[in-house]
Protein backbone atom coordinates (compact mmCIF):
# COMPACT_ATOMS: atom_id res chain seq x y z
CA UNK A 1 0.00 0.00 0.00
CA UNK A 2 1.35 3.41 -0.96
CA UNK A 3 2.28 5.34 2.19
CA UNK A 4 0.38 8.53 1.33
CA UNK A 5 -2.83 6.55 0.77
CA UNK A 6 -2.13 4.46 3.85
CA UNK A 7 -1.75 7.55 6.05
CA UNK A 8 -5.13 8.81 4.88
CA UNK A 9 -6.83 5.43 5.19
CA UNK A 10 -5.54 4.82 8.69
CA UNK A 11 -6.58 8.33 9.75
CA UNK A 12 -10.13 7.47 8.67
CA UNK A 13 -9.96 4.15 10.55
CA UNK A 14 -8.88 6.00 13.71
CA UNK A 15 -11.84 8.37 13.26
CA UNK A 16 -14.23 5.50 12.70
CA UNK A 17 -13.03 3.59 15.78
CA UNK A 18 -13.32 6.77 17.87
CA UNK A 19 -16.88 7.24 16.64
CA UNK A 20 -17.63 3.65 17.71
CA UNK A 21 -16.17 4.32 21.18
CA UNK A 22 -13.33 1.91 20.47
CA UNK A 23 -10.43 4.18 21.25
CA UNK A 24 -9.28 1.72 23.91
CA UNK A 25 -9.18 -1.18 21.45
CA UNK A 26 -6.05 -2.97 20.26
CA UNK A 27 -6.83 -2.08 16.65
CA UNK A 28 -7.06 1.63 17.52
CA UNK A 29 -3.70 1.41 19.29
CA UNK A 30 -2.16 -0.33 16.28
CA UNK A 31 -3.53 2.25 13.84
CA UNK A 32 -2.34 5.16 15.97
CA UNK A 33 1.08 3.57 16.39
CA UNK A 34 1.34 3.06 12.64
CA UNK A 35 0.49 6.73 11.99
CA UNK A 36 2.66 8.19 14.73
CA UNK A 37 5.68 5.86 14.63
CA UNK A 38 5.76 3.13 12.00
CA UNK A 39 4.96 5.31 8.98
CA UNK A 40 8.04 7.42 9.76
CA UNK A 41 10.37 4.58 10.72
CA UNK A 42 12.29 4.64 7.40
CA UNK A 43 13.23 8.31 7.65
CA UNK A 44 16.35 7.82 9.79
CA UNK A 45 17.72 5.26 7.32
CA UNK A 46 16.94 7.66 4.44
CA UNK A 47 18.99 10.32 6.20
CA UNK A 48 21.92 7.90 6.21
CA UNK A 49 21.51 7.40 2.47
CA UNK A 50 20.40 3.77 2.82
CA UNK A 51 18.05 2.08 0.36
CA UNK A 52 14.68 1.94 2.10
CA UNK A 53 12.56 0.47 -0.68
CA UNK A 54 12.07 -2.89 1.08
CA UNK A 55 11.34 -1.19 4.38
CA UNK A 56 8.77 1.07 2.72
CA UNK A 57 7.09 -2.01 1.24
CA UNK A 58 6.99 -3.61 4.69
CA UNK A 59 5.47 -0.46 6.22
CA UNK A 60 2.83 -0.43 3.47
CA UNK A 61 2.07 -4.10 4.09
CA UNK A 62 1.70 -3.44 7.79
CA UNK A 63 -0.83 -0.70 6.99
CA UNK A 64 -2.71 -3.04 4.67
CA UNK A 65 -2.92 -5.61 7.47
CA UNK A 66 -4.49 -3.03 9.79
CA UNK A 67 -7.01 -2.09 7.07
CA UNK A 68 -7.80 -5.79 6.55
CA UNK A 69 -8.27 -6.30 10.28
CA UNK A 70 -10.59 -3.28 10.40
CA UNK A 71 -12.62 -4.52 7.43
CA UNK A 72 -13.02 -8.03 8.83
CA UNK A 73 -13.93 -6.68 12.27
CA UNK A 74 -17.18 -5.24 10.91
Amino acid sequence: MQLKKARKKLASIVASLRAQNQSESELYRKAKHWIDVESKSHWDKMDLGEDVSELVKAIGTSAAEIVWEYNTMK
Partner: protein, 209 residues
Protein backbone atom coordinates in the same frame (compact mmCIF):
# COMPACT_ATOMS: atom_id res chain seq x y z
CA UNK B 1 1.08 24.80 14.40
CA UNK B 2 0.01 28.17 15.68
CA UNK B 3 -2.49 30.45 14.01
CA UNK B 4 -3.57 34.04 14.48
CA UNK B 5 -5.79 34.10 17.52
CA UNK B 6 -7.90 35.58 19.07
CA UNK B 7 -10.17 37.19 16.50
CA UNK B 8 -9.67 40.92 16.26
CA UNK B 9 -12.64 43.29 15.91
CA UNK B 10 -11.48 44.21 12.41
CA UNK B 11 -11.99 40.68 11.08
CA UNK B 12 -14.82 39.51 13.30
CA UNK B 13 -16.84 38.81 10.17
CA UNK B 14 -20.58 38.33 10.84
CA UNK B 15 -19.70 38.12 14.52
CA UNK B 16 -17.84 34.83 13.99
CA UNK B 17 -16.17 35.21 17.40
CA UNK B 18 -19.45 34.68 19.25
CA UNK B 19 -20.63 32.01 16.77
CA UNK B 20 -17.54 29.95 17.71
CA UNK B 21 -18.74 30.03 21.33
CA UNK B 22 -22.26 28.81 20.57
CA UNK B 23 -23.03 25.51 22.32
CA UNK B 24 -23.76 23.76 18.99
CA UNK B 25 -20.42 24.92 17.52
CA UNK B 26 -18.00 25.14 20.45
CA UNK B 27 -17.23 21.38 20.90
CA UNK B 28 -16.39 21.00 17.21
CA UNK B 29 -14.39 24.22 17.19
CA UNK B 30 -12.40 23.02 20.21
CA UNK B 31 -11.57 19.78 18.37
CA UNK B 32 -10.52 21.69 15.29
CA UNK B 33 -8.48 24.16 17.34
CA UNK B 34 -6.66 21.33 19.13
CA UNK B 35 -6.08 19.38 15.90
CA UNK B 36 -4.40 22.31 14.15
CA UNK B 37 -2.45 23.35 17.24
CA UNK B 38 -1.39 19.73 17.73
CA UNK B 39 0.48 19.58 14.44
CA UNK B 40 4.19 19.72 15.22
CA UNK B 41 6.40 21.65 12.82
CA UNK B 42 9.28 19.19 13.19
CA UNK B 43 6.92 16.47 11.91
CA UNK B 44 5.92 18.62 8.94
CA UNK B 45 9.54 19.40 8.14
CA UNK B 46 10.42 15.71 8.28
CA UNK B 47 7.42 14.82 6.12
CA UNK B 48 8.53 17.32 3.48
CA UNK B 49 12.20 16.32 3.57
CA UNK B 50 11.49 12.59 3.34
CA UNK B 51 8.38 12.36 1.17
CA UNK B 52 8.00 15.60 -0.78
CA UNK B 53 11.49 16.94 -1.36
CA UNK B 54 10.85 16.77 -5.11
CA UNK B 55 8.58 19.80 -4.60
CA UNK B 56 9.54 23.43 -4.47
CA UNK B 57 7.27 24.33 -1.53
CA UNK B 58 5.95 22.80 1.68
CA UNK B 59 2.33 23.18 0.60
CA UNK B 60 1.75 19.47 -0.11
CA UNK B 61 3.20 18.36 3.22
CA UNK B 62 1.17 20.97 5.10
CA UNK B 63 -2.12 20.25 3.31
CA UNK B 64 -1.69 16.47 3.64
CA UNK B 65 -1.00 16.76 7.35
CA UNK B 66 -3.98 19.04 7.97
CA UNK B 67 -6.17 16.73 5.86
CA UNK B 68 -5.15 13.67 7.90
CA UNK B 69 -5.52 15.45 11.23
CA UNK B 70 -9.04 16.56 10.31
CA UNK B 71 -9.87 13.05 9.09
CA UNK B 72 -8.64 11.61 12.40
CA UNK B 73 -11.00 13.84 14.40
CA UNK B 74 -13.90 12.67 12.27
CA UNK B 75 -14.28 15.37 9.61
CA UNK B 76 -16.16 14.15 6.55
CA UNK B 77 -14.56 14.77 3.15
CA UNK B 78 -16.00 16.17 -0.09
CA UNK B 79 -19.49 16.63 1.25
CA UNK B 80 -22.11 17.93 -1.23
CA UNK B 81 -23.77 21.19 -0.22
CA UNK B 82 -26.92 20.64 -2.25
CA UNK B 83 -29.19 17.65 -2.51
CA UNK B 84 -30.20 18.69 -6.02
CA UNK B 85 -28.26 17.03 -8.80
CA UNK B 86 -26.27 19.71 -10.57
CA UNK B 87 -25.68 20.05 -14.30
CA UNK B 88 -22.85 17.54 -14.41
CA UNK B 89 -23.11 14.31 -12.48
CA UNK B 90 -19.39 14.47 -11.67
CA UNK B 91 -19.60 18.08 -10.57
CA UNK B 92 -17.51 18.94 -7.54
CA UNK B 93 -18.08 22.70 -7.60
CA UNK B 94 -20.37 22.74 -4.59
CA UNK B 95 -18.69 20.33 -2.24
CA UNK B 96 -17.28 21.09 1.16
CA UNK B 97 -13.64 20.00 1.43
CA UNK B 98 -14.08 18.97 5.07
CA UNK B 99 -17.17 19.09 7.26
CA UNK B 100 -16.77 18.76 11.00
CA UNK B 101 -20.24 18.79 12.54
CA UNK B 102 -21.71 22.20 11.61
CA UNK B 103 -18.35 23.62 10.48
CA UNK B 104 -17.42 23.80 6.79
CA UNK B 105 -13.63 23.82 6.34
CA UNK B 106 -11.45 24.55 3.35
CA UNK B 107 -7.85 25.58 2.76
CA UNK B 108 -6.25 27.84 0.20
CA UNK B 109 -2.53 27.72 -0.47
CA UNK B 110 -2.82 28.57 -4.15
CA UNK B 111 -3.92 31.43 -6.39
CA UNK B 112 -5.86 34.33 -4.80
CA UNK B 113 -8.74 33.73 -7.24
CA UNK B 114 -9.07 30.27 -5.74
CA UNK B 115 -9.13 31.84 -2.31
CA UNK B 116 -12.02 34.13 -3.29
CA UNK B 117 -13.93 31.21 -4.80
CA UNK B 118 -13.44 29.20 -1.62
CA UNK B 119 -14.74 32.10 0.50
CA UNK B 120 -17.82 32.15 -1.72
CA UNK B 121 -18.25 28.39 -1.51
CA UNK B 122 -18.01 28.44 2.29
CA UNK B 123 -20.67 31.18 2.40
CA UNK B 124 -22.80 29.10 0.00
CA UNK B 125 -22.58 26.17 2.42
CA UNK B 126 -24.05 28.36 5.17
CA UNK B 127 -26.57 30.75 3.59
CA UNK B 128 -30.04 29.32 2.82
CA UNK B 129 -30.46 28.74 -0.89
CA UNK B 130 -33.25 28.23 -3.40
CA UNK B 131 -31.78 24.77 -4.01
CA UNK B 132 -32.47 22.35 -1.18
CA UNK B 133 -29.40 21.84 0.95
CA UNK B 134 -28.11 18.43 1.89
CA UNK B 135 -25.42 19.69 4.26
CA UNK B 136 -26.09 23.20 5.46
CA UNK B 137 -23.36 24.43 7.80
CA UNK B 138 -23.39 27.11 10.49
CA UNK B 139 -19.83 28.38 10.21
CA UNK B 140 -17.01 28.43 7.67
CA UNK B 141 -13.29 28.13 8.35
CA UNK B 142 -10.75 28.93 5.65
CA UNK B 143 -7.20 27.84 6.41
CA UNK B 144 -4.53 30.01 4.80
CA UNK B 145 -0.89 30.83 5.40
CA UNK B 146 0.16 34.24 6.63
CA UNK B 147 2.42 36.10 4.24
CA UNK B 148 5.39 35.35 6.48
CA UNK B 149 4.74 31.59 6.36
CA UNK B 150 3.91 31.71 2.64
CA UNK B 151 7.34 33.16 1.95
CA UNK B 152 9.19 30.85 4.36
CA UNK B 153 7.51 27.71 3.02
CA UNK B 154 8.00 28.98 -0.56
CA UNK B 155 4.40 28.79 -1.75
CA UNK B 156 4.64 30.25 -5.23
CA UNK B 157 1.02 31.44 -5.40
CA UNK B 158 0.04 34.62 -3.61
CA UNK B 159 -2.99 33.60 -1.53
CA UNK B 160 -2.40 34.57 2.08
CA UNK B 161 -4.18 35.49 5.31
CA UNK B 162 -3.76 39.22 4.73
CA UNK B 163 -5.40 39.01 1.28
CA UNK B 164 -8.18 36.81 2.63
CA UNK B 165 -9.02 39.29 5.40
CA UNK B 166 -9.07 42.14 2.89
CA UNK B 167 -11.28 40.15 0.49
CA UNK B 168 -13.63 39.27 3.32
CA UNK B 169 -13.96 42.98 4.19
CA UNK B 170 -14.47 44.03 0.59
CA UNK B 171 -17.07 41.31 -0.05
CA UNK B 172 -18.70 41.59 3.38
CA UNK B 173 -22.07 42.46 1.87
CA UNK B 174 -22.00 39.40 -0.39
CA UNK B 175 -20.55 36.94 2.11
CA UNK B 176 -23.28 37.21 4.75
CA UNK B 177 -22.14 34.19 6.74
CA UNK B 178 -19.80 33.75 9.72
CA UNK B 179 -16.41 32.83 8.28
CA UNK B 180 -13.20 32.53 10.25
CA UNK B 181 -9.96 32.99 8.35
CA UNK B 182 -7.47 30.75 10.12
CA UNK B 183 -4.05 32.24 9.42
CA UNK B 184 -1.19 29.81 9.96
CA UNK B 185 1.79 31.55 11.52
CA UNK B 186 5.41 31.18 10.54
CA UNK B 187 7.13 29.38 13.44
CA UNK B 188 10.41 30.97 12.34
CA UNK B 189 12.19 27.73 13.17
CA UNK B 190 13.14 26.71 9.64
CA UNK B 191 14.54 27.93 6.40
CA UNK B 192 13.81 26.36 3.05
CA UNK B 193 16.38 25.80 0.34
CA UNK B 194 15.21 25.53 -3.27
CA UNK B 195 17.88 23.79 -5.36
CA UNK B 196 16.12 24.75 -8.58
CA UNK B 197 13.97 23.17 -11.30
CA UNK B 198 15.06 19.70 -12.38
CA UNK B 199 17.29 19.15 -9.35
CA UNK B 200 16.91 16.07 -7.14
CA UNK B 201 16.01 16.72 -4.44
CA UNK B 202 14.32 19.95 -5.46
CA UNK B 203 14.24 21.37 -1.95
CA UNK B 204 15.24 20.87 1.65
CA UNK B 205 13.85 22.36 4.84
CA UNK B 206 16.57 23.15 7.35
CA UNK B 207 15.74 23.55 11.01
CA UNK B 208 17.19 26.64 12.64
CA UNK B 209 19.03 25.95 15.86
Amino acid sequence: MNFIWPIDDQWNHCNVRSVLQRPDIEPYWTELYCAINGIIWDDLINLHNHEYNDRMSMSVAISERIDNELTEIGAEAEVPIFSKKLVSSRDDRYRIWKKLGPIAIDYSFGHPDGLRWKLNRLATAIIPNQHSMENQCQLGVLIVATESLRKAAKFDAKANWETAIEDLNIMAAQLQAPIFILGLKNPETFTMIDYGRGKKPRSHVKKLV
